[in-house]
């Protein structure tokens, strides 16, 4: 698929609405995933790697695994709290 032309040129290679929306949703999802990963990296580095050694210890590795799971769980708790328990 070649790049789209600007609307004002009126040429024949225009996106359909569906194609455009698919691309938009994909890009939004990718941006969101990258931002989420960056946040988790920051939080778990802070919690689990208190004194960086010459390699990751076993306890640091398991801390990181638990941290990722807990952060995902926290996101769910906050999300449900905001959107399914109105006052």
């Amino acid at each position: 698929m070649d790049s789209f032309s600007s609307p004002s040129s009126g040429s024949s290679s225009q996106f359909s609405t569906d194609e455009f929306m698919d691309q938009l949703k994909t890009q939004l999802a990718q941006a969101y995933a990258e931002e989420f990963l960056e946040t988790v990296r920051g939080k778990c580095f802070e919690k689990c790697i208190t004194k960086p050694g010459s390699s990751l210890s076993g306890s640091e590795s398991s801390c990181i695994s638990r941290c990722v799971e807990r952060y995902i769980e926290a996101t769910g708790i906050v999300s449900r709290s905001l959107f399914s328990a109105p006052r």
Binding site: S16, A74, I77
Partner: protein, 79 residues
């Protein structure tokens, strides 16, 4: 599959919806980050304690309460 131009009202409506969704995701992300810092004080365990999970849930709702107060206060200050 239609071939509408990029200026249709329908497309604008769909884009608005996605924008709304993205803003909600952003709010959840920001709140989760702030509430994590407030509520998860120790090393992450294999599950949340009940005080940790209620703290997270309360945190989000108190933030929303605070938002409303701030808006009202701000509105009452406008001349």
């Amino acid at each position: 599959m239609d071939a509408s131009s990029l200026n249709s009202a329908e497309l604008q409506r769909l884009i608005s919806q996605e924008k709304e969704r993205a803003m909600m995701n952003e709010m959840v992300a920001k709140l989760t980050s702030a509430c994590w810092d407030k509520c998860i004080t120790g090393t992450p365990g294999s599950k949340f304690s009940s005080s940790e999970s209620s703290c997270l849930s309360n945190c989000a709702q108190r933030y929303m309460d605070m938002s409303i107060i701030i808006m009202k206060r701000f509105q009452s200050m406008q001349i």
